[in-house]
């Protein structure tokens, strides 16, 4: 399936030195609908972003399984080691198979 863009805020330092540990902050706009299934209520199927994968210059540096207990618009933070200037590619997989994608460039001096 073709990845689609998603509203997200990815915060990286403006530049980093080779070998430096950089903090990556990710906020993504998503309702993270955990299923509604109770008597008297209209059933709503679960629809969350269940996986986030992050590659840096093509190599996977971070992967996370997200659970239905996580609030809407999930925020997360991780660190990686700056090697070369390259793109961090974020892909989120949603229930139902939709794949969302965003990129951010890490500049290494």
């Amino acid at each position: 399936m073709q990845p689609v863009p998603i509203t997200a805020r990815i915060t990286l330092p403006p530049s980093a030195q080779r070998g430096e540990v950089v903090t990556v902050r990710v906020l993504v706009r998503h309702p993270m609908e955990r299923a509604v299934d109770a008597p008297g209520l209209t059933p709503v199927p679960r629809k969350i972003l269940h996986t986030l994968r992050v590659t840096y210059s093509g190599e996977e540096v971070f992967r996370m399984a997200l659970s239905p207990g996580i609030a809407a618009n999930p925020y997360l933070e991780f660190t990686t080691i700056a090697t070369d200037t390259g793109d961090l590619v974020f892909t989120w997989e949603e229930d139902g198979g939709t794949i969302y994608r965003r990129e951010a460039r890490l500049v290494v001096t």
Partner: protein
């Protein structure tokens, strides 16, 4: 000032019996307060970015008349205000007027995503600036209405606003600390809502809390109350877009 002292301040004010109104940020937990100051962690910025994009859209766009959105600095600090036709307008009401009268579009509707986004982006331009609402002239009558609403006992619990927000500010109510009940942080992202919301939505929650009648968003009751709350906040910094529990 050390963090410990800051925590004690509301308590100190309580002991002195001072009618001291403090900014809501002083009542936030250190974690929420830090996140409120940090755009990389504050989910409200998702709305701010949307609002900044909306600023450039439409025919004519907001930017076509008002220029860069940075030119809106200080505007949110003056709302609510009385328009030339005598109506009391909050920031959202002003945006809706602009949209229907100058852009020839249909109104966004209270609590809609684009209206909250635009309000958040515009309010952000006034962040840190002192609230400066007019309380004299045509606003005086509205202000008195708001004061009356604030001071009147309401609902099955028979509480007035001040019984929590003046007499018990700084103390805990269930899981949260009672603030002085200012609207300076709105529109705010509330973790309980999982979304951005307006002050009027928050006021409806307050009304429900004391089991009183909930008024509609944008109603005269909440508009005049908003004006009174803003008059209490005069001189205190605008915190919008805020982060609340």
């Amino acid at each position: 000032m050390t963090r410990g002292w800051r925590k004690l301040l509301p308590l100190l004010a309580l002991l002195l019996g001072a009618a001291d109104v403090r900014p809501t940020q002083d009542y936030l937990s250190p974690e929420i307060r830090a996140a409120q100051e940090d755009p990389s962690r504050h989910p409200g910025w998702l709305w701010v970015e949307e609002g900044e994009a909306l600023w450039g859209r439409g025919e004519p766009s907001c930017a076509a008349c008002h220029g860069n959105i940075a030119g809106m600095a200080g505007v949110a600090a003056r709302y609510p205000l009385v328009a030339t036709d005598g109506a009391l307008l909050d920031l959202e009401g002003r945006i809706e007027r602009c949209r229907t009268q100058h852009q020839g579009e249909s109104a966004f509707g209270r609590e809609s995503e684009p209206l909250l986004a635009l309000a958040a982006a515009i309010a952000l331009q006034s962040r840190g600036m002192p609230v400066a609402v007019a309380t004299d002239g045509p606003a005086a009558a509205f202000l008195e209405e708001g004061r009356h609403f604030y001071e009147t006992r309401q609902g099955q619990l028979n509480l007035s606003c001040g019984q929590c927000h003046d007499n018990n500010a700084g103390r805990r109510l269930r899981g949260d600390v009672i603030s002085n009940g200012l609207g300076t942080g709105y529109p705010a992202y509330r973790l309980e809502w999982n979304t951005m919301g307006s002050l009027h939505r928050r006021l409806r929650a307050c009304s429900l809390g004391v089991r009183a009648e909930q008024f509609p968003l944008g109603s005269r009751e909440y508009l005049t109350l908003e004006l009174f709350l803003a008059s209490r906040a005069n001189g205190l910094p605008v915190e919008a877009p805020g982060l609340r529990r």
